[in-house]
Assembly symmetry: C2
Homo-oligomer: 378 residues x 2
């Protein structure tokens, strides 16, 4: 008794099998398809087929063309390998979705913006009971050099669609693309053939916030920015947008009115405290996070500065806290970013060829709540 | 050429192999172990072994005792099946951790308390590059009756340790336990042999908050509770704790001072607005969520009610917003709940027998920030 033929099963329609889920496929109970039948249909030796199905090299080198021919024959016969990984190689669209995060996932889950991105990812899955794999990667590892360090879901071969969040690691992207897995990277544009990058229009967010202040008659505008000299892409883009907006509107943004910090609530409170201490209290503050904006609001409340009549505040991202505190903010389409990534990889896993690199920039919009008002005559 | 013997590989120490990761195991490249060798070592027919490794019934009924003997022989020989699922059946501790959530995962990720629980789960994983599976289940499905509806990671057989969050589904728990997978359920005590349940001491949270108010001289205490008549376990327990605390302290909590809502910020704002409109402004409010407490604070700020000199506020859970707004609250050990669940399933997957049901209740503690003060003479 040969375990291969035992394991095989198929359908007898004679055409391509419409398979909707990996699970149904594994648990389908069709008639046995032998290795000899596949060998005959593909015109390839049984040894080569076995090698392909096991993804191990038993001394038989199999060309990509042969592989395509064998897999096509298997699909046409409705052959279902017993090994989950072979199933995913043969029917890539049935593989799991894997979200890879450059360390660490724990911090990401608590970041309200990325929590919404994950929410969007889940929301876009179509299975009634949805599932994803979540794993970490090292943004600085050379995975081409050390494939043994690849995240478990990449090595295990059960996932076939990847969404990466965090630091760009071209060696990771290349490894995945080489295996013909579609990859969507939620971050800075990386020009790799086959890679899709998706991000909100950060620079436009700053332009909208500053533009709104200028239009409302504000002249003393302060900025709560990220860490000074940060190499973070989003901070760099937000800063660039501020510079653009000031140039375009003719408003000068004094260096002393730009405060740097880690964009948490404390940094917001400290920023306003510093401005007040310097007798530089602005009439409007743009904060590059909602948390910092919440900190500014907290300090204003405790210091008796009335919001919005004396001080207008605009946050950034439109996370839960902005809604809770009725803060005006620039909405980042977090859910849409996640959903776009899912749709992109779902679409591309069905295609046999990987396309050119693609950069999707999603629009942002100003949300006016209760923390903004026109500048008063005073 | 037999695909089974091709697929097999092992180590030649002759004893139990110390295997630290599923991945290393799959990619290890040891000498071939034949089915005949396993058959000889276990004293079982090759057909029965094949049946066991493929988890399919080829007409050969294999007893649990035989299964244990075959798996033991395989482990001693260092045999590694080619099929990922067979690897996990043979070496359960190498399987993935799966977090199962009763619909829906998307909402869970955005819930700051559960975001911290997930954070705790990730934090407790020991692999340098951590990974989990995240999947949904239906709290009301009968999985014993309809196993085909089980979440994909349960059916696929790559996960071997489960943490369940949300509604209790005994048929799910029983299915997992029957497969000898350890299960930790983060919720209400369910008396199933082998099941571990973990939760914070909700009732004590209310007792601490009310006790603190009473000790600080407050007599006009209001409660912002969950939806009236809610069957939610946490709300029921928090309410029970309030009743206990009032009884023990001799403070009467008038029914008109208990407000019901969905515990978001809006419900908190509306609660205080309603109390003020009725000329029933309390000197202290206990809110059964930090979001509701944030809403109370927001309304107080806008209505000119000074916090804490005129109004003390205590929230519940100690999520990020409580820290951001310097709200006093009762800390729920969310991270520890997650970590405890991981340690529990990791420990039990290594044991061959499932123990009695176990209920772990983790202590909570009051965190005093800037929203509480003693009652003034007024």
């Amino acid at each position: 008794m040969n375990s291969f033929s035992e394991a095989g099963s198929g359908k007898d329609q004679g055409g391509t099998v419409e398979l909707r889920s990996l699970d149904k496929l594994i648990h389908s109970n069709n008639k046995t398809i032998t290795m000899a039948a596949i060998s005959k249909a593909a015109g390839v030796s049984q040894g080569a087929i076995s090698s392909l199905l096991n993804d191990r090299d038993y001394g038989i080198r199999v060309s990509e063309k042969t592989r395509d021919r064998v897999f096509k024959a298997c699909r046409e016969l409705g052959y279902i390998p017993n090994d989950l990984r072979a199933v995913v190689r043969m029917y890539p669209h049935l593989g799991d979705l894997c979200v890879l995060v450059s360390q660490n996932v724990a911090a990401l889950i608590e970041n309200p913006f990325y929590a919404r991105v994950l929410n969007g990812i889940f929301g876009a899955l179509t299975a009634p009971m949805r599932n994803v794999m979540l794993a970490e990667y090292d943004a600085h590892a050379d995975y081409a050099e050390k494939p043994e360090l690849l995240p478990a879901p990449v090595r295990n071969g059960v996932a076939s669609k990847f969404i990466c969040i965090g630091g760009a690691n071209p060696s990771l992207f290349q490894t995945l693309l080489k295996r013909e897995h579609p990859v969507a990277f939620l971050g800075r544009g990386v020009p790799l053939p086959g890679l899709t990058t998706i991000e909100p229009d950060y620079a436009d967010a700053s332009r909208m916030a500053i533009g709104h202040f200028v239009k409302s008659g504000h002249k003393k505008i302060a900025i709560v920015s990220g860490p000074f000299g940060s190499s973070d892409h989003s901070v760099a883009e937000l800063n660039r947008g501020v510079r653009n907006a000031c140039e375009n509107s003719g408003v000068t943004c004094d260096a002393q009115n730009i405060l740097y910090g880690n964009l948490d609530a404390k940094s917001g409170s400290e920023a306003l405290a510093a401005l007040v201490a310097r007798k530089q209290t602005p009439t409007a503050i743009f904060c590059m996070s909602d948390e910092a904006a919440a900190g500014v609001l907290s300090y204003a409340n405790s210091a008796g500065i009335r919001v919005p009549s004396q001080l207008s505040i605009i946050g950034c991202a439109d996370t839960a806290i902005a809604e809770t505190l009725a803060l005006s903010t620039v909405h980042f389409p977090a859910g849409e970013i996640g959903a776009t990534a899912v749709r992109d990889v779902e679409l591309r896993v069905a295609e046999s060829e990987l396309l050119n690199s693609k950069n999707i920039m999603l629009p942002v919009r100003l949300v006016e709540r209760k923390s903004t008002a026109p500048a008063t005559a005073a």
